[in-house]
Amino acid sequence: QQTTGGGAAAGPAPAAQPAETTGLGGANSPFGSFKHDSTLPIEITSESLSVNQATKVATFQGEVVAGQGTMRLTAQQMEIFYDGTPQSGTSSDTGSIRLMRATGDVFLSNGSEAAKGKSAEYDVAKGVITLGGGVVLTQGDNAISGESLWIDLNSGVGEIKGRVKTVFQPGSNN
């Protein structure tokens, strides 16, 4: 049973409910579990890190794992674009990270849901993640594939675009 639809907000649940766009992101909204607080500390581990102070880009290389709350983003390489100016309003002297760009076997997971793609960008300030280069989003037995995936982490609203294919496992109990 395969339904193909272009640019539709993917909803695997048989009773296709439009993903609620209320602040909380309904429990069954496909990306509900991706909703999380993007002001939590981000921890990044990798084999190496090079910080280019001229361009203000920090590049993590090798087994890169970035975690924020329950969200995990893993990749082979991750570039962090930060600006050196200390974040206003915080005592810490850390600059603010504007963007995180991951490439190479990108895997985004947040508990029950996981998405894979070739690249991902996480706009920390806006709390928006986009995955690109052919994405497969899995929830339990269901999978949705498409060209790109966009998720607003604050509301858990998301959209998958481009040759979207949804694969239902018939008889699954959802």
């Binding site: 500390p41 102070q53 001229a54 993590f60 974040q87």
Partner: protein, 215 residues
């Protein structure tokens, strides 16, 4: 307390105590002056003297300065320094700080409990509570670091903990290089900081500002 009236004896003793040395100096200098012609150069040191002098010679609060390949002034200060000889190939330093002034007023500083400086190749080995700050505001702490000051390369082979614009960083090693150090266009003032052997960074984003005051 009233000064006791000095007896005649003590007055003469005091006179002699001062007078005799003066007399000796006068005689000594006359020796030099008289034999001006056949006196060969300055004071001569035997090899063993040099060795002894080298070990004994300890400079307190010394500072050494120079300029890096890119013409940036640097200075090394210490509580004391002990050269291995009058023309030292190695200088042992204690409680030292090194500072490289970059253009635009920014600085790279290194500090440590102990260090060994090789003035010829402008190389300093730092050990014990080593602390480095880069021009971008990173403060890194480690136990051992090698600084090639002329090329502004600093290598910390062991565990490093640093904090800076990216948050707190723990790594198995750290290497501060200058892009032009390996031939690229000289971008003085901007180092590359390379952390290796396993890196962990914790970044704390600013608390979400209430939308209203987000300009």
């Amino acid at each position: 307390m009233a000064r006791r009236r000095l007896g005649r004896y003590s007055r003469t003793v005091r006179f002699l105590r001062i007078g005799l040395p003066l007399l000796a100096i006068a005689m000594m200098s006359s020796v030099f002056l008289i034999q001006e012609d056949d006196f060969v150069g300055g004071i001569e040191f035997s090899a063993s003297d040099i060795q002894a002098l080298g070990e004994g010679l300890r400079l307190t609060n010394p500072n050494f300065s120079g300029t890096t390949d890119a013409g940036e002034p640097y200075m090394v200060r210490a509580e004391w320094a002990q050269p291995d000889s009058p023309n030292p190939s190695k200088i042992t330093l204690h409680d030292l700080t090194a500072q490289i002034d970059l253009d635009g007023g920014r600085k790279v500083t290194l500090a440590a409990q102990d260090g060994v400086m090789r003035p010829d190749d402008q190389h300093v080995t730092l050990t014990g509570a080593v602390e480095m700050t880069t021009s971008d505001g990173y403060v890194a702490r480690t136990e051992l670091a090698e600084a090639d000051i002329s090329k502004r390369l600093v290598t910390a082979p062991g565990k490093v903990s640093a904090s800076g614009p990216l948050g707190s960083i723990e790594a198995g090693s750290m290497h501060i290089t200058r892009p032009d150090a390996d031939g690229e266009a000289p971008a003085s003032g901007n180092e590359m900081v390379l952390f290796g052997n396993g890196v962990r960074v914790v970044y704390r984003p600013a608390q979400q500002k209430a939308p209203s005051d987000k300009e």
